[in-house]
């Protein structure tokens, strides 16, 4: 395929946007009223395996160990790891999602959200199917929790993607919607191809990745946003199918390597909304990542397997916002709240004047002067000019 045409884009934009609900246990259908001759079939998916970058052979029976993420799945021949997109074929480990796009949109960078990275610009945003976690509140479960052959995808090489991003005048390619860690090889190849074209790559991730692959990737990225799920191992284990410590380690690595980092915490009522727990998290962030890392506190809405909880009260988010500020974090935002909320805006950490006014994902005023506050000349942390 040479280009992602408009029809493909439309299709990809529609994929994964259907209605969904957590059905109740239900009675089986008593009979088939379907005429089997009316069934609709799709073209057979072409799964072109590409050898994975991070895996080790195991001593017995053609087994392999994937070393890409902290699950470190040991996978028998013909089987796949927890993410469902990596397969052992005869003792060699492959990714099945290289160049298999299931979503592509041109989004405001604010939607990622990245607020201190080229504000007001667009990101050519893409995903393949699959995820190494299973958050019970996943908004994109219809693509993140399926295997690649179960979802209609189109084939798009890294070069094609970069060309499309250029054609759309996007300064950024964002790896997002699902978990880019599981399409690591594709992401890496795109990021490498995008740099000479003057396009930066940003990764929207849960940060559940091993150190070696993370360190190899960082030099190819322009920014990263990490979904910090909560501050207890219990929450990671029970709600997301992951672990806390590897994420903390990844955050420290990102900070040490100097990559621009923003954090999002989705506040889920009763599960990770305790003031005490979040206070500890805010202090950890300040002590380990610094006071300038933007923190987005985001509102939960019931979805996927967590439909029994209400949406997060805005008052809870506002209370946590002031706790985070009290803990010494300079750039704290609220997300998924009513548009125009004052906590959508950026204020200078030195003089307190408003620098960027937002309305939802739209930048309506941007007073930054080459990354500086026009009032007190304070340098504002972030990436505000294209390198």
């Amino acid at each position: 395929m040479n280009s992602i045409n408009r029809r493909h884009m439309m299709r990809l934009m529609l994929l994964g946007s259907g209605a969904y609900s957590l059905g109740q246990d239900r009675a089986p259908s008593s009979g088939s009223s379907v005429n089997l001759d009316d069934l609709q079939f799709k073209a057979e998916p072409s799964l072109r395996p590409v050898e994975a970058m991070f895996w080790e052979k195991q001593p017995q029976d053609k087994k392999v160990k994937c070393t890409l993420c902290p699950h470190e799945c040991v996978v028998a021949d013909m089987e796949r790891g927890t993410c469902g997109v990596r397969e052992n074929r005869d003792g060699t480990y492959y990714t099945l999602v290289h160049s298999r796009l299931c979503a592509a949109h041109l989004d405001p960078i604010e939607k990622k959200p990245l607020f201190h990275y080229l504000p007001g610009t667009k990101a050519f945003s893409i995903a393949t199917p699959g995820c190494n976690l299973e958050c019970k509140y996943c908004q994109n479960w219809q693509i993140s929790q399926f295997r690649p052959e179960q979802i209609e995808c189109i084939e798009a090489s890294p070069e094609v993607l970069v060309a499309n991003a250029s054609r759309n005048a996007a300064p950024t390619i964002a790896f997002t919607y699902t978990e880019p860690v599981i399409f690591y090889e594709y992401m890496y190849d795109i990021a490498v191809a995008a740099r000479p074209a003057g396009i930066g790559s940003v990764m929207i991730t849960s940060g559940f990745i091993n150190r070696e692959p993370l360190r190899k990737l960082i030099p190819e990225l322009a920014a990263i946003k990490v979904d910090f799920k909560g501050f207890t191992d219990e929450f990671y284990r029970t709600i997301c199918g992951g672990e806390l410590q590897p994420v903390l380690d990844a955050l420290v690595t990102i900070r040490r390597e100097g990559l621009w980092l923003e954090l999002v915490v989705l506040i889920v009522p009763t599960l990770n909304d305790s003031i005490e727990e979040n206070r500890k998290m805010f202090h950890w962030i300040k002590d380990n990542l610094g006071s300038h890392v933007p923190l987005h506190l985001s509102r939960f809405h019931p979805t996927y397997k967590l439909k029994n909880l209400p949406a997060t009260p805005v008052s809870t988010l506002e209370r946590l916002h002031s706790e985070a500020r009290d803990a010494g974090l300079n750039y704290v935002y609220l997300g998924n709240v009513q548009w125009g909320h004052p906590a959508e805006n950026t204020y200078c950490h030195s003089c307190g004047k408003m620098l960027i006014r937002r309305y939802g994902f739209q930048v309506v005023e941007n007073h930054l002067d080459k990354g500086h506050c026009p009032h007190c000349r304070q340098s504002i942390p972030g990436v505000f000019t294209k390198s």
């Binding site: 259907g18 209605a19 969904y20 609900s21 957590l22 059905g23 109740q24 246990d25 239900r26 009675a27 089986p28 259908s29 008593s30 009979g31 088939s32 379907v34 089997l36 001759d37 069934l39 609709q40 079939f41 799709k42 057979e44 998916p45 799964l47 029976d61 053609k62 087994k63 902290p70 699950h71 470190e72 028998a76 021949d77 013909m78 089987e79 796949r80 790891g81 927890t82 993410c83 469902g84 299973e134 019970k136 929790q145 399926f146 295997r147 052959e149 179960q150 219990e234 284990r237 029970t238 709600i239 199918g241 992951g242 672990e243 599960l271 996927y304 397997k305």
Partner: protein
């Protein structure tokens, strides 16, 4: 991450999500080809082991063995009567095979053909029979004649359908998945056709585990040797209410190194296992595999930390008979 650690992660997740507690279940009832209302409980704990020394390859035709075994299982004089005791003309029958391991360790087409012929003797038209697994690609690899249109038996994978899986998640105990529409919407009756084999994580993958191929997210349920998840998947109403017959195609079995084919660990079994009760058949299969491991000097599956506890869970849930001593093994 070690398996036990992941098991802990998964299990602790269950409690918070307040998955419905699955208790003993009532037996499904269906109408057969004699217009009788039948309870599957009638054949609970019965497993036929039908063997013939000549049946030593998946390419050989076991039609006679199948009919003979089925008659013995259901207590009928002839095989054709047996098919009519389980199926009726109006049924849409989904024949779920396990195609993962390729042609040397997956149900042979001759057996599937014999199943189709048997269903025809019960009056089920060929056009109302779907032979399926996850993907058409895997079925083709076995040499099955993939057929999505026209006359005759339909043969295709869930992934071939434009809308292969249900749009909503349904819960079965601790499992939350989208089920294949083949089983959820189109079939009124299901036949499960597995093989006699070891499984790296699940201990064995014979019949109960085969229904991981009916959900969209099997990879999320491999912790703790797939227990209790396999049992919970099998408690889903679309499986529980529709599953009528279980067949293990076993000219050979594999006692180690699964789920892929590994010639080094195979033995000639030369037969079929037949049961209405999948739990009982899995329990017998486990016994056969364990014995073979023992004679090969291998550790037991329990010593190997991969005992398939989901069989016991399925028994406790009332899905079938999991106690070996309570199972009536009928040799043919």
């Amino acid at each position: 991450m070690s398996r036990s650690r992941r098991h802990f992660l998964r299990c602790s997740g269950l409690s918070l999500l307040a998955a419905p507690i699955v208790g003993p279940m009532s037996s499904p009832v269906f109408r057969n080809g004699y217009a009788e209302s039948m309870s599957l409980d009638r054949w609970r704990g019965r497993v036929v082991v039908a063997r013939n020394s000549g049946y030593d390859s998946f390419s050989k035709n076991p039609a006679g063995l199948l009919d003979q075994g089925l008659a013995a299982l259901l207590g009928t004089e002839r095989g054709s009567d047996a098919w009519r005791r389980l199926f009726r003309r109006e049924d849409v029958v989904a024949v779920k095979v396990n195609a993962l391991a390729g042609p040397r360790l997956s149900p042979g087409w001759p057996l599937v053909q014999a199943v189709v012929d048997g269903l025809k003797t019960a009056g089920v038209p060929a056009g109302q029979i779907i032979v399926w697994d996850r993907s058409s690609r895997e079925l083709k690899r076995l040499g099955y004649p993939v057929n999505t249109s026209g006359d005759g038996v339909k043969v295709f994978g869930t992934d071939a359908l434009r809308q292969g899986y249900e749009e909503t998640i349904t819960r079965a105990g601790s499992v939350g998945s989208c089920f294949s529409r083949i089983i959820a919407r189109y079939a009124t009756a299901v036949i499960n056709v597995g093989v006699l084999k070891d499984h790296d994580l699940a201990g064995i993958s014979v019949l109960l585990k085969n229904f991981y191929g009916a959900i969209h997210n099997p990879n999320k349920y491999h912790d703790n040797n797939c227990s209790p998840y396999v049992a919970h998947v099998n408690s889903h109403p679309d499986i529980r209410q529709k599953l009528r017959l279980n067949i293990v195609d076993a000219p050979v079995g594999q006692y180690h190194g699964g789920p892929a084919f590994n010639n080094r660990y195979t033995w000639t079994f030369g037969g079929l296992l037949l049961a209405v009760d999948a739990v009982a058949a899995d329990r017998v299969a486990l016994d056969l595999i364990q014995r073979q491991r023992q004679s090969a000097g291998l550790r037991t599956l329990r010593q190997d930390n991969r005992y398939p506890a989901y069989i016991d869970v399925a028994g406790e849930m009332g899905l079938g008979e999991a106690t070996l001593s309570a199972i009536r093994r009928i040799e043919v």
